[in-house]
Subunit: 310 residues, 2 copies
Amino acid sequence: MDSNSLYIGVDIGGTNLRVALVDDNGKVIKKLKRPSAEDILSELESAIDEIVTEGVKGIGLGIAGVINRNTYKIERSPNLHQVEGKDFIGSISKKFSVPVRIDNDANVAALGERWVGAGRRFKNFVLLTLGTGIGGGVVYGGKLLKVAAELGHITVEAEGSNCLCGNKGCLESYTSGRAIVSQVVESLEKGVDSILKECCEGNIYKITPEDVYNYALEGDTLAREALKTAGRYLGIGIASLVNIFSPEAVIIGGGLIGAWNILVEEGIKEARKRAFPELIMDVEILPAELGDNAGVVGAAYMIKQELEGL
Amino acid sequence: MDSNSLYIGVDIGGTNLRVALVDDNGKVIKKLKRPSAEDILSELESAIDEIVTEGVKGIGLGIAGVINRNTYKIERSPNLHQVEGKDFIGSISKKFSVPVRIDNDANVAALGERWVGAGRRFKNFVLLTLGTGIGGGVVYGGKLLKVAAELGHITVEAEGSNCLCGNKGCLESYTSGRAIVSQVVESLEKGVDSILKECCEGNIYKITPEDVYNYALEGDTLAREALKTAGRYLGIGIASLVNIFSPEAVIIGGGLIGAWNILVEEGIKEARKRAFPELIMDVEILPAELGDNAGVVGAAYMIKQELEGL
């Protein structure tokens, strides 16, 4: 079946703005990616301008932050302050005269995976994106659950490390790029022996999660332990989410899935030990498929679903 | 508006079987309550027999345990082994020739509160029932979210106390009647000074959560601390649930709400410190209203919604 409907999907995450033209089958026809400017709204408008074409039925926006379910403004975005308080829907729908919808970036990424990614086969799944922080989205009955789904901010240690969100012991303070690097740097500062101290020309403050993974592959104990600790907490989080949502699948995306064989494997083992056995038994735990496109494709699907009354 | 539709709601919790005739407005017309027998299916059939009348359109069952979303059999019920593996829907629909639906008892209790209880005003809320254990249910867009919602089994202490479910550090191992009593008994065994040791004619193994509350009201430090600790963990759990579900309300039911002014108040304080401020700001945290009737009324509403295609 061929169709002429086109959609624009926007994904504004921590550091990048992505705008794509997406067809009715979830295919990305054209995509722009640029660093998020300070004047994010003007930048977004000009990016959409470059990509908009005849046949565009609507625009979907996925933006990092907590979105008010009544006003649709972004109430807080710790990694992207310039979006806070902005009326994206008002501005964009006025300028482009098509329907516009907004949701959190990780939420729409879940929707993208549902449409044409790792979630295709599942009507009920949980998506966790492991990057600098943790994002989450929940698909229920084939549709996005319109809730905050701040899945990185469930407490896994009552009196644990301080989290950027203001709470203590959040999953994100243990399982995220930031957490892994902190753990490694703290250990190196304490003088723990590790070849990681030679990383980055000896400047341990430049270590990235990818460095940790590479050193782990070379057998460095500190690096391996850091990834396994993150993985163990990931498993604790997955177990809680399985006990809550009884999903068919847990899909894991974000940069950290590069460390799947150490970090995520540890998490899967831990989750299977902890969740209700009859709930986790048939749960598939698998990597996201859309990578950098998950957000734009999902944002496009959000507006498509809305317009088609799906 | 008057209507002749009637429904039967069944609630089989840990120790009791409740069967009620419920009218179209959520009013309980007649109700039976008896201890759960070993042959639970025969007992249920005879109880329904006593209460069934002309005009009954369907039967809703709320049963403690993990329900398989495909077969609708109860896969596991730690406090009610006799329901495990039973085909309630098959047996009951055959005997009474009306549609029958089944869900977890805490899930249907949430639905009852939604219909005619503390959840009337809210389309999105989380229910926690604090009893011997913890039950949970989530209402989303006015309807029950059909997920396990085992909200007592989210991990709040990664390496915490062993939970009956097999996991460690579950919310239920800190905030439940069983947990409060354990904490008090352990302290008394260690020789902590408290007037609670005079409770129950000196047999500390007979202490109930209600005793703990009564001694707390008399100013006993151990009793107060036990309730406050349970409350603090309750708050940690509520914060995680608010960050996940961004509900309008959190409704708290079950026997422990008798200790609202100590236990739940502490929980509310803790939750407001921990959850995303913009998410918890407008969340109402309030007691359930239907008490012992929540399950039967909710089970009746479940079948009513189903038949009316709501």
